[in-house]
């Protein structure tokens, strides 16, 4: 079902005028300010070429943002987290605010909800392992990192929360990044209210993002490469790793959308404004969509230029 503006009770003349005006209004491309202000966008994801928007419910656009359909079956209140994987078309995993996860294998038409061993607290971030599409990671508020090997049906506790700025921090964003840790595994990046961290997928320990892996840094002995971390003291609302270009990361912060081309060592701001979510297209890593200043906006050149999407 598509979202439609309800018709008010009007006289025939007024109705005709209103309809004409409304038709003209609807035909105009609109920035998504109205949508964004009405809906608190908490997460974005591509499911193939379709775009998913998590807010009070889940919205889906299959036409590049021209029209949107609510996936009402996922209706479990606000959705805090959202994840997909290009090798599992149709699979969408959400983290409702009331806790647990909801899994759809048909693009959002039907949902399977449950905890599968997860604690009652809300899932604040979800990521699907880049190289293992049935492996899912979930951060549980006040608890830690959990993993599922069966696409979210059952879960086991994996790792305590990262320790940053003298406290444990809830991951508010997760991204599985298909780059070698030096331990025959890949990285899981986590954004928190106190910055960025990462852990190898053997889950030995959370550690700062640095060039290469920890052993490289130790052995090289030379001058460390230049680093430009994300701004200190800002929460990270979302992280996106483009599967086809894992060195490329995007982050949504209150100061804007930030991009890194070297796995999070050097960051630069590619969009000003308050960003609450960001997603990268699975096969076109320079195609990104962000929830920015209450609207949805997209870039097809890695953040160099942006344009507003159509109204939801």
């Amino acid at each position: 079902m598509m979202i439609r503006i309800p018709k008010p009770h009007l006289s025939r003349r007024a109705f005709a005028l209103t309809t004409l005006a409304g038709a003209g209004f609807l035909a105009m491309p609109r920035p998504l300010h109205a949508v964004g202000r009405a809906r608190n966008v908490t997460a974005l994801a591509f499911e193939g070429d379709a775009l998913l928007v998590a807010c009070e419910t889940l919205l889906r656009s299959d036409d590049g943002g021209t029209s949107w359909a609510p996936e009402s079956a996922s209706g479990a209140g606000d959705i805090l987290a959202l994840a997909t994987h290009p090798d599992r078309p149709g699979r969408v995993i959400t983290g409702p605010a009331r806790g647990g996860v909801a899994v759809s294998d048909d693009g959002g038409r039907s949902w399977e909800r449950g905890r599968g061993g997860l604690p009652e607290e809300a899932v604040t971030a979800i990521a699907v392992a880049a190289a293992q599409p049935d492996m899912v990671y979930a951060a549980v508020r006040g608890d830690g990192l959990w993993q599922s090997e069966d696409a979210g049906r059952s879960w086991t506790f994996t790792m305590d929360r990262p320790w940053l700025a003298d406290a444990e921090r809830d991951p508010t964003a997760l991204a599985s990044v298909d780059l070698d840790t030096g331990m025959d595994g890949i990285w899981i990046y986590a954004g928190t209210e106190a910055g960025l961290t990462r852990v190898p997928d053997c889950f030995c320990r959370w550690q700062n993002v640095q060039p290469g892996n920890a052993m490289d840094a130790l052995v090289s002995g030379g001058a460390p490469p230049s680093e430009a971390p994300l701004p200190a003291g800002e929460p990270i609302h979302a992280l996106a790793s483009a599967p086809s270009a894992p060195e490329t990361l995007y982050a949504a912060l209150p100061s804007g959308v930030w991009a890194s081309r070297n796995a999070g060592v050097v960051w630069s701001r590619v969009a000003d404004g308050s960003a609450s979510a960001v997603a990268a297209h699975p096969t076109s890593p320079r195609h990104i969509v962000a929830a920015l200043d209450g609207g949805l906006t997209q870039s097809r050149d890695g953040g160099a230029t942006w344009s507003a999407l159509a109204v939801i």
């Binding site: 830690g144 305590d160 331990m183 025959d184 030995c204 550690q207 920890a214 052993m215």
Partner: protein, 161 residues
């Protein structure tokens, strides 16, 4: 060479091999099948030494049976992480020999600068050979799959360094 001489020489070589094998068994210096460190074979003597050193220096935290501290994935009240297991249920076997050696010698901060851990650096307490023996003992307890995985990680690490 005449046939008699060939037979004699062959017998002599076989005898020497047998004597060497017996001597190695008696001294406990035989290589342990499938266990290497930095790609070199490890002897049963080293593993026995490592087992003793592990019991004296490591078992109090990592467990007599290498099982780690209880609930080792949850942070302690001290805000530090508990000692993880070194058996196949832990993540030790995900790390290359070089990392394991450095972590043991220099502490976790040796590979993750600034990381706070209850594990001490054993430099000054154990020699390099003793550290190698402890790690060889730990590796000798792993099932084949974990040992093979870790050998591959080590080979890749050495190839890339």
């Amino acid at each position: 060479m005449k046939r008699r001489a060939i037979v004699f020489a062959g017998s002599a070589v076989a005898g020497l091999i047998a004597i060497a094998a017996i001597a190695q068994q008696q001294s406990g210096e035989s290589d342990v099948d499938g266990v290497t460190f930095f790609g070199e074979p490890v002897t049963s003597d080293e593993i026995a030494l490592g087992q003793d050193l592990y019991a004296a220096n490591c078992a109090s935290c990592h467990g007599v049976d290498l099982e780690g501290q209880p609930d080792w994935k949850r942070r302690l009240d001290s805000d530090r992480m508990p000692a993880p297991p070194h058996d196949e249920t832990g993540h030790t076997w995900h790390h290359a020999d070089r990392q394991l050696f450095i972590i043991t010698k220099l502490g976790v901060g040796g590979v993750v600068p600034g990381y706070e851990s209850d594990m001490p650096a054993f430099e000054g307490m154990l020699t390099d050979a003793e550290i190698r023996a402890v790690l060889a003992f730990i590796k000798s307890t792993w099932p084949d799959r974990q040992r093979a995985f870790q050998a591959e990680v080590t080979a890749n690490d050495e190839g890339g360094s």
